[in-house]
């Protein structure tokens, strides 16, 4: 019995002391480790997107960031990989809205290419060639592009250009989507099949329909309304959802989003909207919706 208790006891004590010590050190170093990780991430992001005052917003974890300045989308930063000579080559690329490369960065710490040869893809002298190029130019010179490969390291050089080019192909289309306003996205969702033609700002023609967007100050903030007209009559209206920034009082102003209120508009001409009864207890919100429809209609000048 004694042979059994003593070893158990010793092992438990050793385990407890060790765990205690580790959790102490862990808590002490954790903030520092996180700070470093964030710093090095921000560093490489601003390295490939060298524009003063941009902020990066993560879209796909560890893969795609959108670079914004004063609310405007300036471009994206993406991470892509391809198979090199003896492992994976990872590239971090900054891309502007026209699809031009701002800068390419290859982190050395995950690079396993041959030192002195393939490793040179991480050097500035090779990477600076990418800046200013567009997708179709990102090939080695021997493949008809504009990049001088590294002597005796063609596989690594080609893999790097492939990673950059494929990344642009994968993520460039996202810029458009990321810089869209919520109502532009919503309209696309409402008419997924049809081609959308923009007539002027916030007015679109979709087949035989005219769609416009307008917003008006409500009780808790701006209320945005998308109006779909067919034969000059309202076919459909969509009111901004809370996720899209709608912020009226729950149970009162929020009722303007309910079917009961929305259905009153269907089939009416926009100029007749004024006569529709508002919601009791939510006059400001209902008026905002009505005014948005009327003012938006004035904006398009009643044109077809």
């Amino acid at each position: 019995m004694k042979d059994f208790i003593k070893p158990t006891f010793v092992l438990v004590i050793v385990g407890i002391v060790s765990a205690g010590l580790l959790s102490f050190v862990y808590n002490k170093t954790l903030p520092e480790i996180e700070k470093r990780a964030k710093e090095s991430l921000n560093e490489s992001l601003s390295l490939v997107f060298p524009v003063e005052g941009v902020e990066f917003e993560n879209v796909i974890p560890d893969t795609l960031w959108v670079a914004k300045k004063d609310g405007n989308v300036l471009g994206i930063v993406f991470v892509n990989i391809s198979k090199g000579y003896s492992g994976i080559i990872k590239v971090v690329v900054g891309l502007d809205r026209e699809g031009k490369i701002l800068k390419v960065f290859v982190p050395k710490d995950v690079l396993t290419e041959t030192p002195g040869l393939g490793m040179k893809v991480a050097e500035e002298s090779f990477l600076k060639q990418f800046s200013g190029l567009k997708k179709e130019e990102v090939y080695l010179k021997k493949d008809g592009g504009k990049i001088d490969g590294i002597t005796a390291a063609t596989i690594s050089s080609r893999a790097t250009t492939n990673a950059v080019r494929n990344g642009i192909e994968k993520y460039f289309s996202k810029i458009e989507e990321l810089s869209m306003k919520w109502y532009e996205k919503r309209i696309k969702e409402l008419f997924p099949e049809d081609s959308i033609e923009m007539l002027k700002e916030n007015v679109w023609r979709i087949k035989d329909r005219i769609v416009y967007y307008s917003e008006e100050e409500g009780y808790g903030g701006k209320i945005g309304v998308i109006v779909v007209l067919k034969d000059k009559k309202i076919e459909k209206i969509y009111i901004q959802s809370p996720e899209e920034g709608f912020d009226e009082t729950e149970g009162f102003g929020s009722k303007v989003r309910e079917e009961e209120f929305i259905s009153k508009f269907i089939g009416k001409r926009p100029e007749d909207v004024k006569k529709i009864d508002g919601i009791t207890g939510a006059t400001i919100s209902s008026n905002a919706v009505k005014n948005a429809i009327i003012n938006g209609y004035k904006m398009i000048g009643g044109e077809k």
């Binding site: 060790s18 050190v25 470093r36």
Partner: protein
Amino acid sequence: MKTFINALLDNNPVLVMALGLCSVLAVSTSAYNALGMGLAVIFILTFSNIIISSIRKVTPTNLRIPIFIIVISTFVTIVDYVMKGYFPALSKNLGVFVPLIVVNCIVFGKAEGYASKNTVIDSILDGLGSGLGYTLVMFFIASVREILGQGTWMSIPGGFPGFKVFGEGFMNYPVLMMILPPGGFLTIAFFMGLLKFYQMRRGK
């Protein structure tokens, strides 16, 4: 003092006992990495020696291995955290070889072969000696490999670019093989021979 010298030279863990060669080969491509790794091993070796020798009388014989592993891995993890927090570049370079110190033969061999049988003071000296022996040897090997293979000495990733030992012409076409594993084996063998030669001369 004799313990210390013995552990450092006559029983040098790398050159005489040929322990921990894997990490020596992998890490000794640059002098800075070697120094960082060496300091980590000195710290871990000394402290795990202290703990293991001070609990040697209460350690049940059949449970000594798990206990050694817990003690060693505790110190390894501490070093890993500290390195990640305060020396991120070094930590990235050493990569998996820091956590692998847990199963480094030097640390484990010393715990089993020395610290569990000797007093705390002796164990400290033995730990410092072996650790220093490991570090010095690795530092020399790494210096040779870095100078010949890269043309620099003591370059720090993301910081100090290192002393340029040879001119630009050499930097562009260094002896690449020295950075690769064959260079590691050759250099280790060379140093082993050197120590043997010294010991034979002194013996006579």
